[in-house]
Symmetry: D2
Subunit: 371 residues, 4 copies
């Protein structure tokens, strides 16, 4: 599968939401087109009380550290930031020297969709995307790559970190054994392990395992945990399990311009998101809606789903006629580069915390109505 | 005056707000300890409607560009970001090559309070702080520095940009003539000009001139315009007057992790701030309260005010006895390094959009009550 | 062909030169194991006369600029440096912004053997290696890559430069038409063009065309022209055809520590190398010896030569028995990763300006003697 | 004293060597205008024998490591490079994180003459030049600076390293006690210590102490040891005393393009320089000639020598009439910025290993002859 995705910013390929009946939510372009979920917006208002020390010396930030340690069942250090790119890049900068290389899947967001941010934050480390069939790193290929790297001298960038994406860019999810196999190989070769968890909640909801099991118990040193795609306004956090890696992270953050002066409003979002398992409920809804969508698409003549739908992204190849029908009905989605030998175009449909059954059914209904 | 300020993060020197009568706002530590002003919080709620294209392809961002061009009376390019450090550093990165040098006042925030962010974003450019008596660059010294730089060869960093802070770190404000004199010298020597406008509104409210007069008409290429200290949640914007400097700024922003996916919530803050001159009203209140405070302090025996109070920061040297009284009464402020030959300690008191006369008077009352 | 070459620094795979009969030169590991050729050593001595202004303000450097412009038949700017890695990386830093991407062959030295130097000098630009069968970029693949890049937005690194290696890492040479096709595609898409000419002389000697034809007349903006592998002590030069790209190159060079104080000794090497076509004679000898070697290997039972021998590198797959015989006889060479489906191991044999027929024949004789 | 030195590259202020009697060496502009000393040139020729493994796997490099350890009386790691800027910058990159600050004298070469190279190699660390009267860091000022830095939070660059220059840029030399006082303060505050030893041999020859005493026994972690100004062609070396700091230095070096393929020629220079105390004899001659020059200048009416002459640089203020006489007689030197309140112009006169008594006397004779 070709990772040369058509970015969301290329407006010409983004079918804008139409002007049809308002109660149907038609924008399946991404989970970040959704609004802020009510609980989080309310939390912002609740935090807007009086003067509070700035730059993280506030009660919300303090509570957040405690809460995340509880969620992961171990002592962690938490650094809230406003974007996933910052979160990933700050994490990687603590895991690789500037003359290092980071191994990742060839589809990885860090290598394809962040305009070189990891290179910027790490001072020029190299990203090496390994080919795979479904966004999950192949242990055999990883093993061979690590072996070759071990024999290389100072002419080669030093293999320093592995970055896994959970859930992956293709909507698949690493099972616990697969995850431990690749992190185990990396750690045995002296590499640190980063997890890009922009859709971590969705992976967790799919697997039903504990946050601890999917992270530090499986060899993850730093997790980029994303809330924005799951209902927040703009809130992600580095969750650092290897506490030594947290040293000077505050200065890394500051010199990247990623410390909010009114940080209470960043921490308050994240606290609300973790409160009463809101994050898991939001993820579960998005996953369910994606599964409903996938089930409907599988029954659609001419549709080919190249990947298992294990989180909240559905990739499907559809004939152009059907795509035009969706567009005419005002549905929003991205067109991907179509793999060779397939008739039609690969598109991505993303569900979110506020997608409803009627939204999915409306989309399926449009397809079913095409003769 | 010594620029080695005690940072806000050194909690031991920050006197926390006490538990005294709730209706008095006692935290004068910074204008960023204040909450979000109601109009801006309301705007966030108003923007929380349905699915909207992400990464800036939203109506709020579009309107913001138009509105800022109106405010400045010329076509500008606007890039909203969430912190002042990011805003300054992105601006500088478009004004100097990595082998360049940026001239600024020795008190400048970019050189003292941003943990090397400008060096990071510019790829290693050098900041050169010029000494001054009050935070405003001395044209004579600037002239001599530029002359020496002009004769230097490839062994020296190339003098590439001048950064002026308006209002300055010491609460003073460049008058239009002073400003044009220093920017004129810089431009004549081939340097670009940046203005750090974290408190630009306060300077404007003090001078009563137009935004255009204080920026592009006075030779400024890029302005960092801050709203956070003036009532926003987390919102600043690069205002680029020299449109050629805006080229690829979107990629600079992205690779620094400073593009919000749900950007409508960044733009909505800034739109509300500019609406109905809210930004100027907020600035005017902060300035008035600072002036009231300064007037009271001048009358206080033992108090020495080393700078004119021209915006919303008041610096005053007070005997330790008075400082202890303020702390005992729950007032929050920062202690600065005390200049030699002065009896007492230099402190900073900052007013904001939500400081009221009674808050100022309460502080002055505490001082007056000390025998 | 796998580009994961075993670096020269991994001593265990480098078969050291034996202690056998001294008059045979047995080290085929690289052209940089050779000594300095007599004309260049003599030139160093000749330059060692009296006090001379430092940092390039010397007569040798001045003459070098004139001489290189003559050689290339156009006005160029020349920047001498001591290593190929510096030469390539400085060149790329003038051709791509830090948020850019450089397209190259997947075998390229800049992406595999320079420990991230291009990333360092460019401030974090991304290298994208395109797969090929023989080290020469495939125009079709390049065309598709450029097309996809053109549609990408600010989430993707900006395609900014193409780097071609002439001769390639596999010893092949771009013909003039092939070269113009790929540079033409790149230029049409707005990319700048760099040529890594570590073995430029060998390519030129193979093609018999003019230096101009192989560079600026074929769309090359900057050439990294290497003399070290062709008889110099430590001397390479950036030859800048697009004069605007030379702006501030002196400062790029200085801040990378690549300006010699006694620069006459760098320029004197390069002048001597270009004098009386020494560079072409050295290259021609190396090529001839490689051709002689290849002709002999082709006749060797069990030998497979995966690439045409068009410069001074010969790649050959040989059965382990033969490799052991070579090692036992004291011949030095590198083992490469063996491609799948082949019986034996891929090795590289490099000839140089001082390889002689008897050296080649001695190697072939060892192979022939194995039963 | 103003550190805004007129760089050597500004040719207009460099008085070129005249065409007068050849046997007098008139170029006092720098010690790097001198040729290579015969012993070192001979060593290059002696190393030019046959094929030798590249990139440092050669016998000369191996012997160099042993020899330098002997010279310093402890196990060290040695990394030879071709320029002082590379040497200093690589050293600093191993002593400070990119968010750190390096304290140095305001006259330091690293802050004034290297076009931002330390910033480049460190990824953007900040240099903070401390004012001094004679190029030697004042322990009191250093103490206060360290104290303020200790209290600063993540808004400030982290004070990470101290760099001392021995001999200093003004030709003065730290005595052992002074040196230990400043390094002791730095180490107590958690800073690493770098010594810029571009003229280390001259300082050593002046003090008569051991290399060990002036470095690791006085708290130095890495020494930049320069041979180029003392007779080499282009050869400097990092001498790493804190062995942990040597980790990955080979990759730092490689990605900066500072590993020679034919490294034997770099190591051979340094070996010859250390052989039979050539380095100390060269330094002693340069020092003696500077002392002779200073003694003569002190007797010259109108001459003011602002610094003690303790190595091979003499700074003197001379009336314009005398300077014109020197220039007319073909003597080469640099003009510095003249300090306020002084009649005349400050110039620098540098002696080297090949300056002779008659050269010094000829210069003094020209001055004496002016009426």
């Amino acid at each position: 599968m070709n990772q040369n995705t058509v970015g969301q910013s290329s407006g010409d390929t983004l079918v804008s939401e139409g002007k049809t009946a308002e109660h149907i939510r038609r924008n399946f372009a991404s989970d970040n087109v959704a609004p802020v979920c009510p609980e989080i917006l309310a939390a912002l208002g609740a935090a807007n009380v009086g003067a509070v020390p700035s730059y993280g010396a506030d009660p919300w930030t303090e509570r957040l550290g405690v809460r995340v340690s509880e969620v992961f069942g171990t002592e962690v250090r938490v650094f809230p930031v406003s974007t996933g790119t910052a979160c990933n890049s700050l994490a990687l900068s603590a895991l690789t020297p500037s003359w290092g290389a980071v191994l990742c899947d060839e589809s990885a967001h860090i290598d394809n969709e962040e305009c070189g941010a990891p290179e910027f934050f790490t001072g020029g480390a190299k990203l090496r995307g390994l080919p795979s069939s479904d966004g999950r790193i192949d242990p055999d290929l990883l093993g061979r790559t690590l072996e070759q790297g071990a024999g290389a001298g100072a002419h080669s960038s030093k293999l320093s970190a592995l970055s896994v994406t959970q859930a992956t860019e293709w909507g698949t999810v690493y099972g616990p054994e697969h995850l431990r196999e690749v992190t185990g190989l990396a750690r045995a070769a002296g590499l640190a392990v980063h997890m890009d968890g922009a859709r971590f909640g969705n992976a967790l909801a799919h697997l039903g395992c504990s946050p601890a099991e999917m992270t530090w118990q499986s060899g993850v040193d730093i997790l980029s945990l994303g809330a924005t795609k799951s209902g927040a306004l703009a809130a992600e956090m580095l969750v650092v399990f290897d506490l030594a890696r947290a040293a000077d992270m505050d200065r890394r953050q500051k010199r990247a311009g990623h410390v909010w002066s009114k940080q209470r409003f960043l921490s308050a979002q994240l606290l609300a998101w973790l409160e009463d398992d809101l994050w898991l409920r939001n993820a579960a809804n998005a996953n369910e809606m994606a599964a409903r969508l996938a089930r409907g698409l599988v029954r659609q003549p001419g549709a080919v789903l190249p990947f298992e739908t294990e989180s909240n992204e559905v990739f499907v190849v559809l004939p152009e006629l059907l795509l035009e029908a969706l567009e005419a009905a005002g549905f929003g989605f991205y067109r991907w580069v179509t793999p060779p030998g397939v008739d039609g175009t690969l598109i991505r449909l993303v569900t979110s915390y506020d997608t409803r059954s009627e939204d999915v059914d409306a989309l399926l209904g449009v397809l079913a109505a095409v003769e």
